[in-house]
Symmetry: C2
Subunit: 202 residues, 2 copies
Amino acid sequence: MIILYGSPLSGNTHKVRMALAFLGLPRDERLTDAAARQSGAFAALTPMRQIPLFVDDGFALRDSQAILALLAARHRPGEWDGHTPEERGAIMLWLSHAANEIANGPATLRLARKFGLAIPEDHAAAVTARILPVVEAHLERRDWLAGDRLTIADLAASPYLALIGDAGIDLAGWPAIHAWTRRIAALPAFPEMPGWPAEGVI
Amino acid sequence: MIILYGSPLSGNTHKVRMALAFLGLPRDERLTDAAARQSGAFAALTPMRQIPLFVDDGFALRDSQAILALLAARHRPGEWDGHTPEERGAIMLWLSHAANEIANGPATLRLARKFGLAIPEDHAAAVTARILPVVEAHLERRDWLAGDRLTIADLAASPYLALIGDAGIDLAGWPAIHAWTRRIAALPAFPEMPGWPAEGVI
């Protein structure tokens, strides 16, 4: 059984939760709050003490993008991680944006504005302002970030964009991003999270 | 012919330069300085106006990690990007660290301290202090970041760690990282860059 250390409100956890739900894989999800992350037992599993952490039969892997890459290669090779080198590169681009601009922009702004963490907002707001128009323009011309179907690019990039309301930004102001997050939320087996409800067929 | 828009002092450009050199692929490297990046012609190629930018027969791809993923899938599938799902995940972990912690830590600190960009140093210093011990501990037990050979994990993560002297940090204080950057610099066809010289056989 796959063990997923995470939190219901964590967008990074949700990336993996979506992948496991779409794959139909059972998971033992273990709530790992701030206190649990500071424990020595958790640090022994993952040196940066971050969630999500994926453990499967003794193999542990941190970083949401890395876990998505593992699951894609195991269960949806090609379909989820690229049939061609060009697709592989296009998907990796969005994994980079998820790891950098989306994490340090919208996700960080959400931590400050929704959860009240003492984080300077200026940098996060500037990164958010830089990445949103790039994603919006990209999605104006297509349904999915890379290729013609859902890939791990969409799984990695979508949660913190779906949740930008938590960061004080109206998702309705970004219609192509909004439509794409609803498209994902309409997929069979989509797992809801607070702030990102499932959709009927759209 | 592959066109690589970049700069001799850019560690991100160097990731791709190393890959092309190790693959023995000719490149038309076009110096793209700050002024060139602001041109409309460059913006038409890449919306974030960042280097490196890879163009091959009309196919353009930004983001150094994405370009490495493309080149690995094309020319060294398995060897450079993972033979197994577990290796694929382990490599992706370091691509995430390269895109996030290494970019926002040592690379940003270098921009501030070597090139005098007006960037607040506190956040970059904190990220650097967090990631360096993780990399050092990982490399104390192994020669390469993932698997038993050079992969795109090493290409993505190494330049800004090899160049931490430019960020005001003594690489000699991190002996496992230092040995690893010298191991890469001793590979046949390693392209030198200012601050990271080639090594004889070590």
